[in-house]
Amino acid sequence: MSRAFTENINCFNVLNNITFTATDDEPKILAWLSPLEPQVRHHDICEQRVESVGNWILETKEFRGWYNGDENGGSDHAALFCYGEPGAGKSYIWYERPSATNEEHDC
């Protein structure tokens, strides 16, 4: 069973000619897309992380440039690669926006 999904998101129908729909099959479809659940590891990292450790990265010009994008809104430097040896703390880099809700962070 599906119903037309038009409220508030009419623009969905225009973008790349992709139409969205709400469907009762959603949980099954999501499980079919991938059996992997990276949220489990994400949760562990969030639990083990010590606040403020590694925050210096957020102040680097590389991080700021990547996060904010260039002035014209282009996608130059849209990818940031943090490299380092095992145990350096790469997995624990964390950014939380000042006004962020719980969901809005990068791990």
């Binding site: 139409t19 079919w32 849209a78 040896e85």
Partner: protein, 154 residues
């Protein structure tokens, strides 16, 4: 704003195929929307008729990721890219590059050991910025204080 994360793990390298990895990103992005592209719903229904079912192709997943990331500012985080099988890494970087090219709203954050820097740069070209991550003395002190503070043994 949408965020999708993926953590590579050498022990799970069999299961972490490019389609499962990109499919997992798409899954996270879609679950935030509460809606499914009709095309995906149709493919899901069609594949149920095949024996044992059938998964989406990488090309279809990338196409859907492009559509979804065009809707809002999207951050994709990929941890430990060095723990991915080399062949898969190339495919995944190629797919991420396609998403970046087609969707200016998207930012990708990746981590990995230094030795894969070359392949990351080659696949993502001028779009990539590198940062070297090293443990700093003040971070180590903060970390130790926090852990020792929670230590229950005297």
């Amino acid at each position: 704003m949408a965020v999708a994360c993926f953590y590579y793990d050498f022990a799970s390298r069999e299961a972490q195929s490019p389609t499962n990895m990109l499919g997992s990103l798409l899954k996270q992005l879609l679950s935030g929307l509460g809606a499914i592209p009709v095309e995906i719903m149709q493919k899901f229904r069609d594949q149920k008729k095949a024996i044992g079912g059938r998964r989406l192709r990488l090309l279809d997943i990338v196409k859907m990721c492009l559509a979804v990331t065009s809707l809002q500012r999207t951050f994709i985080c990929v941890d430990a890219l060095d723990e991915c099988v080399p062949g898969h890494r190339l495919e995944v970087l190629g797919a991420l590059g396609q998403i970046l090219r087609g969707s200016p709203n998207t930012r990708i954050f990746m981590t990995g050991r230094s030795y894969i820097r070359g392949v990351v740069e080659r696949e993502l070209g001028e779009r990539i910025t590198n940062v070297s991550i090293m443990s700093r003395a003040d971070d180590i002190a903060t970390y130790l204080r926090a852990r020792l503070g929670k230590d229950t043994t005297p």
